[in-house]
């Protein structure tokens, strides 16, 4: 049977039978296994899938005699009572129903006309059917004409349009995957009442323009791409693939035409001068598993990867199950084993061999740049070229620096330091600065980030260098020298003024600096880093933090300070309360000897040609630390990158073709070690049942172009069908992953073809397709059950109403986050680790590192959750997310107690309930009954986009009051449950009771359902 509807259509067996709808399914299910395309399995040399063969003369008989069922061999064998000859044989476990037999009989009598399988036939030009006039007022676009025509024939009526709030929530969940904010519900409802069409149209466009649309629909595509953040199998190590995810999000947001979208993913690397984006796109087929286990045969797993690439390509674009043909010719579909390996040959030449293989470097955020910041981009380019120029001249600068050190270090009398006498002391904040007997300066508690300005009495010596000594003092924490609780400080800038003018500084050195806080920071001009003195990894042995330390500043020309007074400015701009506490300033007429440690001095004393690699490394590292020019240029790059949202750089896996292609043979029974040399070397080609490849070239790019050629009858049909499936819970072809002969026949074949044509004619625009569907009256119907409709069309195949759908795993988290107000809207970038239950890794080979994110990353959308194939984030798989071991074109929707436990008890959801509770307490104040009712009303508006009924409001209020009394008896529990941040005006038990309410509302069926 072809399903309820179709079966009803052919209720009268004597009417004209259509081979594809009525007969092929019977033959495919009951006969083709032994009398179909697979020559190896074929019995009695008879094939029933081919009219010529089926009607061929066999010693005066024929299996099928067109027009005469009574003379046809098949009917005799079907109708016989002899168990030995009866078809189908009992051993197959298959039998024909009375109805099926009647259909076959009638079809043969009518002439046994064959049709090629519907999905392999060209897409037809269809004109939307004309409806009876009274139906036209329901029609919003041609989709409705196709849907209503069938309802009209079945004597059924469509459902009323859904309420404005239901429609809004539906569109919002479908197009971006968030709950609409209550204010949006209000404004939409008002607009809808004024002009429904405009409101729907505008809202649909707004949602399609949202950058979150790419996340919502990108998720579906990532399912098909089997995207994950680990390699799979045994070791299941981390992999970097998120740039590919960014690419998908961006391509969807840009409404990249689906043909280009296809070509770039399958063969972006083979385009002329591929851009970085096009290379990242080829990550699609790098999402295959990699087996990192010791002792694996890489060639075996490379073959597994290629097989997966063929199967995935077949499933995603052609809607065909090619996998069977890996081991034998397909029993039902006309795809031979040879053809499978001819497709295999397209993918058999990439460089990767069960390993990371070729990659492209991508910086976080890079792929999401939208060109709006052209000015910043230009600045970044300039800054990068400045860095490159400096890099080029680095050896020259380093040589100069080395000379200064040599000059400074050799044959010089010890530096004589003369302490300067402060004459004017000023703190920008409230710090008291006091000169002590030894002319040192002690600072009291001041502003968290102080600036000290000290002017000194003139001296009589030329000043070649200045020394800042930071000194311990008993009044300081841990004796100082700094005012931080551990005695540390962070000095971000030290400026020297002579006669009020800033003095250039040629270099700076210190006896000690905290790792990561070199003294050069004080003269690099940046307020974001500084000099500090804590001890850390890399500090020299024996050095102490709470002791006196010194920094030397060397000037290019000695300063004449006898006339011009010297002023120094100490700025603390990095950490609050990290001010210097006690210091003194000295000057010298000579350049001080290097305070560089002995190891380095020793290295420098070795003539360049004799320096070892170790020496060179040491010297280069030291120079890098003092190379202020370079540091400044680099910090400029960092700053610009930050402004542009650019983060860390990673290597994303891509496809690359070998110079010399591999040979491809049939693998006997799918075993890669058994090559079928008899059939011989195979050339890449496409299955014969589909239009042939034009031209002689046979690359992956040619395959990709063929897939999206307008002559290919499958790609557009398969694609629009899947989009349709997401909106209605079922495709027009129910077996969305099987457009082959075993798949189901479309419920609305004309609509399918019309949509496919419309899709291609729009320039393969996905957004056009989305808009068409969501603005149709068909989509906008109410989903409420109607008994008369259920009776006539129990599976709602005719779409006389919408279907209620539980939203996908990721969307459950996303709407929880949007209800809670905690959601981080950040798009793209590396994967994140929100809280997950304890014990996830009790069952994995290696404990995965799962350091739960703090801050915004804790509240990112679910598609960013780091996905380990061997131990997925439990909530996702509990709600039917696939494990991404292989292509997933459509997810099942289960409804299990584990889901209930997750929603009820999971830590991540509990945090969301607390978030929603805090949100409610902030938005609606007061503790009276009316306040509580208003708060419940607001909660319903947030969670369900509607106001509660009186009964619902009463149920929740009663529960809330009961919870208050329960929490009142147990303050500790109330503290655990209450949100972390709620207005002081509430008692903790009241605050806790609203978390309980939020939790319950988020657990109701309506919350996770798209109505």
């Amino acid at each position: 049977m072809t399903g309820v509807v179709s079966a009803q259509d052919v209720g009268d067996v004597s009417s004209n039978l259509r081979f594809n709808q009525d007969i092929r399914p019977i033959l495919a299910d009951k006969c083709f296994q032994c009398h179909g395309p697979d020559a190896a399995a074929r019995q009695a040399e008879l094939r029933l899938d081919d009219r010529k063969d089926a009607t061929a003369d066999r010693d005066g008989n024929a299996a099928i005699v067109a027009g005469q069922a009574s003379l046809s061999g098949v009917m005799a064998r079907i109708l016989t009572h002899d168990p030995d000859t009866k078809m189908p044989p009992a051993a197959t476990g298959k039998s024909l129903s009375e109805r099926e037999i009647a259909l076959l009989q009638a079809w043969i009598d009518q002439g046994a006309a064959y049709q090629e399988h519907w999905s392999f036939l060209p897409i037809t030009d269809v004109v939307p059917p004309v409806l009876k006039p009274q139906w036209n007022r329901y029609v919003r676009n041609p989709i409705d004409q196709f849907i209503f025509e069938r309802l009209q024939v079945a004597n059924l009526s469509p459902s009323v349009a859904a309420d404005a709030h239901t429609l809004l929530r539906r569109m919002s969940l479908d197009l971006v995957g968030f709950l609409p904010a209550p204010e949006v519900v209000d404004s939409f409802t008002t607009q809808y009442e004024m002009h429904a069409e405009n409101a729907v149209e505008r809202f649909a466009q707004d949602l399609l323009n949202s950058p979150h649309h790419g996340e919502r629909w990108g998720r579906y595509w990532l399912d098909q791409a089997r995207y994950a953040d680990s390699h799979g199998y045994t070791i299941d190590g981390d992999r970097v693939m998120w740039p590919y995810r960014d690419w998908v999000i961006r391509a969807i947001n840009d409404d990249m035409p689906f043909d280009r979208f296809t070509i770039e993913q399958l063969a972006g690397d083979l385009l002329r001068d591929p851009s970085k984006l096009q290379l990242v796109a080829t990550g699609f087929h790098r999402n295959t598993l990699i087996n990192q286990e010791g002792g694996t045969d890489n060639e075996q797993f490379r073959n597994e990867e290629v097989v997966d690439r063929v199967n995935t390509t077949g499933a995603v674009w052609l809607g065909l199950t090619l996998g069977c043909a890996q081991c034998h010719s397909h029993k039902f579909d006309p795809i031979s084993q040879k053809e499978f390996y001819q497709l295999f040959a397209f993918f058999n030449h990439t460089v990767d061999v069960n390993n990371v293989g070729p990659t492209v470097e991508v910086r976080e955020g890079e792929l999401l740049q939208d060109g709006r910041d052209a000015d910043l981009q230009a600045k970044l380019a300039a800054a990068l070229s400045a860095v490159a120029d400096l890099e080029m001249a680095k050896s020259q600068r380093q040589a100069e620096w080395e000379r200064t050190i040599h000059g400074a270090g050799k044959n010089q009398p010890a530096t004589v330091w003369k302490t300067l006498v402060p004459c004017r002391l000023r703190a920008a904040g409230s710090a008291e600065l006091r000169t002590l007997e030894d002319q040192s300066i002690l600072a009291g508690q001041g502003a968290p980030m102080e600036t000290y300005t000290v002017t000194f009495t003139p001296t009589d010596i030329p000043v070649a260098a200045l020394r800042l000594r930071v000194l311990p003092h008993e009044s300081l924490p841990k004796n100082g020298p700094g005012r931080a609780s551990n005695g540390n400080f962070v000095l971000s800038r030290l400026e020297v003024l002579s006669g009020g003018k800033a003095v250039p500084i040629s270099y700076v050195q210190s006896d000690h600096a905290q790792p990561g806080h070199p003294v050069t920071n004080i003269i690099n001009g940046s307020p974001k880093n500084g000099w500090a003195i804590n001890i850390g990894k890399g500090s020299r042995a024996g050095v102490k933090m709470n002791a006196s330390h010194e920094a030397h500043l060397v000037f290019p020309e000695p300063l004449a300070s006898n006339t011009e007074p010297l002023t120094i400015v100490l700025r603390h701009e990095v950490n609050a309360n990290y001010n210097v506490g006690h210091f003194a300033v000295d000057v010298s007429s000579t350049v001080p000897a290097s305070v560089l440690h002995e190891e380095l001095l020793a290295a420098l004393s070795v003539p360049a040609e004799n320096q070892t690699a170790e020496h060179k490394k040491l010297i280069a590292a030291e120079f890098a630390a003092v190379d202020v020019q370079q540091q400044l240029a680099e910090s400029r790059v960092i700053e610009l990158r930050k402004k542009l949202g650019l983060g860390v750089s990673v290597k994303s896996m891509i496809m690359r073709e070998l110079d010399k292609p591999r040979e491809t043979y049939i693998h006997i029974r799918g075993d890669f070690l058994r090559q079928d040399k008899e059939t011989g070397l195979l050339q890449p080609d496409v299955p014969a049942v589909l239009p042939s490849l034009s031209g002689n070239s046979r690359s992956r790019l040619d395959l990709a172009r063929w897939i999206v050629s307008k002559e290919n009858p499958l790609t557009a049909r398969v694609t629009v069908n899947r989009v349709w499936m997401r909106y209605f819970g079922r495709g027009l072809v129910e077996t969305e992953n099987d457009f082959g002969t075993q798949g189901s026949h479309p419920t609305h074949p004309e609509l399918l073809d019309w949509l496919a044509n419309e899709f291609m004619a729009s320039g393969w625009s996905m957004k056009h397709l989305h808009k068409l569907i969501v603005t149709s009256a068909t989509y906008r119907q109410a989903s409420i059950r109607r008994p008369e409709l259920d009776a006539a069309d129990p599976r709602n195949l005719l779409l006389g109403r919408q279907n209620r759908l539980r939203v996908d795993a990721e969307i459950i988290r996303d709407i929880g986050l949007s209800a809670s107000g905690l959601l981080s809207p950040k798009i793209g970038g590396p994967s994140v680790r929100p809280p997950q239950p304890e014990g996830v890794y009790a069952f994995t080979q290696t404990k995965k590192s799962w350091t739960t994110d703090a801050g915004d990353n804790r509240f990112r959308r679910a598609l960013y959750i780091h996905f380990y194939r061997s131990a997925p984030y439990p909530m996702l798989t509990t709600f039917d997310a696939p494990d991404f071991q292989s292509v997933c074109t459509g997810r099942p929707r289960s409804n299990t107690p584990l889901q209930s436990l997750t929603m009820a008890n999971d830590k991540a959801f509990f945090e969301m309930a607390q978030g929603l509770s805090a949100r409610l307490l902030h938005v609606v104040g007061g503790t009276g009954r009316a306040d509580s009712e208003n708060r419940i009303r607001e909660a319903f508006r947030i969670c369900y986009s509607r106001v509660p009924t009186a009964v619902e409001s009463e149920l929740v209020l009663e529960f809330q009051q009961h919870q208050v009394s329960r929490f009142r008896t147990d303050p500790q529990s109330a503290m655990d449950v209450a949100p972390r941040d709620y207005p002081d005006s509430y008692s903790v038990d009241v605050a806790a009771s609203w978390t309980a309410v939020a939790r319950a509302l988020m657990n109701a069926d309506e919350f996770v359902t798209r109505e």
Partner: protein, 474 residues
């Protein structure tokens, strides 16, 4: 075309997709919990013939235990120990993970004893197993296709070496449903130094509905993820919560008429029952002393012994398929993984509890219709592998041993004969697919008929292979 049938089946799932199959629905419908004939219910899969067994406990020895140290005495191998292995052992292009041509033979330095009336030969490492020799069926001619752990474990569990297919436990639960009102149909337990390689995919439901996936129970802490209410909610409050959610759902059901809401209401009720019943289930302290001693179980530990006892408690409560993973048997010759002291230790962990499980099931009359399986993903080579001066063996796929007890398998019976080196099977070979076919047979299913349509094809546990090994059945 099977839309009609698919429809009925999906409808069925929807109507009772609370982690249970036909039997549980029967129980749910019968308020007093009285047994209802399953055939009254439109079960998705009717048994193809009367079942010998109703449930399975699968003791999975992850890593591949050495049949040569445990079950297979090979005097010839001992005699030629140290000699270079015959070239013919390396005829296949690639069949070992690590060792190469030129590897030397290694005899087992273990004594073997005959046990029971049947005189079954078992090594000194498994003295307790010897005491139940007359209850078990030793399958000495096992072969598999893959020699890497992850793929081999997947193969043993799902009949395919790539992930993404339903595991055996999922197939069985899909076929039989669950008898439990309060627990999932398929439960997974874990002990040993780490989890099994390939993780989740080993007990996944693949393309079967997730209802049938294995649910990991932890021996310590919360048995199931998210089993405990968030901190601060008392059990009374949890009940309040479930009541409010139920009431809100009822309101919605009345308005929309969508039966899916009723399913969710049942799922929430079962979740509540799981929450309330799990502590009792996991509390092995309530077992009498002599039972704890029989297993060597110590409450509070996460041990194989405790898991064996838990397995019995789970099947007593209607769980259909319990799988225990115990690691690590990957004895290449590393510290902690060798056929010397490491193997002694591993055997010490599993021997008593495995035998105790057989005895305990038997004394309760449960062994008759419960299948107990013991074995790893493959065996180990007769050639030695020396790493870090400890004795070890490489992975071996062409001959290894498993044992089965109960459920209509011949007790006190050995099947399969290997050559003098234990390298290949000479007679009575049992391939993994055959093993699967036989198992399903005992559960009342023809392995060729227990299918699920996915992507245009009827899939089965045995793919296109498998033979029921009648010789080992009573």
């Amino acid at each position: 075309m099977n839309i009609e049938r698919d429809h009925t089946r999906r409808h069925f799932f929807r109507d009772c997709s609370v982690g249970v199959g036909a039997m549980a629905l029967a129980n749910l419908l019968a308020e007093d919990g009285a047994a209802i004939n399953a055939s009254n219910i439109a079960a998705p899969q009717q048994c193809h013939f009367p079942a010998k067994a109703k449930r399975v406990i699968y003791l999975f020895m992850a890593g591949g235990p050495s049949q040569l140290e445990l079950f297979e005495q090979k005097p010839q191998l001992q005699k030629m120990s140290g000699e270079v292995a015959p070239d013919s052992f390396f005829d296949k292009e690639k069949s070992f993970a690590f060792i190469k041509k030129g590897a030397t033979l290694l005899g087992a330095e273990r004594r073997f004893w005959r046990h029971g009336q049947c005189g079954m030969e078992v090594s000194e490492l498994l003295p307790h197993l010897g005491t139940v020799a007359d209850d078990i069926c030793m399958v000495r001619g096992m072969v598999t296709d893959v020699f890497n752990h992850g793929p081999a474990k997947l193969f043993m569990n799902s009949g395919f070496q790539t992930p993404g297919r339903p595991s055996m436990g999922a197939w069985v639960t899909y076929g039989l449903g669950s008898e439990s009102r309060n627990q999932p149909g398929f439960v997974v337990l874990q002990s040993g130094p780490r989890g099994p390689r390939a993780g989740n995919a080993l007990w996944a439901s693949g393309f079967l509905p997730t209802t049938f996936q294995g649910v990991p129970f932890r021996g310590t802490g919360d048995a199931i993820l998210n089993l405990n209410s968030p901190a601060g909610f008392s059990s009374d409050q949890q009940r309040d919560f479930f009541d409010l959610v139920g009431n809100l759902n009822q309101q919605r059901l009345d308005l929309t008429g969508d039966p899916e809401i009723a399913t969710r209401m049942r799922a929430y009720e079962m979740a509540y029952r799981m929450q309330t019943s799990a502590p009792e289930l996991m509390d092995i302290q309530s077992e009498p002393r002599h039972i704890l001693d029989l297993y060597g179980a110590e409450p509070g530990n996460n041990s194989y012994a405790n898991n064996c006892l838990l397995a019995r408690r789970l099947i007593e409560r209607g769980v259909r398929f319990v799988q225990l993973y115990h690691t690590d048997w990957d004895d290449h010759g590393n510290p902690g993984q060798n056929i010397g002291s490491a193997l002694d230790k591993r055997c010490g962990e599993v021997d008593r509890p495995s035998a105790a499980l057989i005895k305990d099931l038997k004394q309760r009359g449960l062994l008759e219709d419960t299948i107990v399986i013991w074995g790893g993903e493959f065996g180990r080579t007769p050639m030695g592998e020396v790493r870090k001066s400890l004795p070890g063996r490489d992975h071996h796929i062409d001959a290894f041993t498993m044992w089965v007890a109960g459920g209509g398998f011949k007790p006190g019976y050995s099947y399969g004969r290997t050559d003098d080196f234990g390298f290949g099977v000479v007679d009575e070979k049992v391939h993994v697919h055959d093993f699967h076919a036989t198992l399903l047979n005992q559960l009342g299913f023809d392995h060729e008929q227990l299918t699920f349509r996915f992507q245009g094809r009827e899939y089965r546990l045995t793919d296109v292979h498998g033979r029921v090994v009648d010789e080992i059945l009573t």
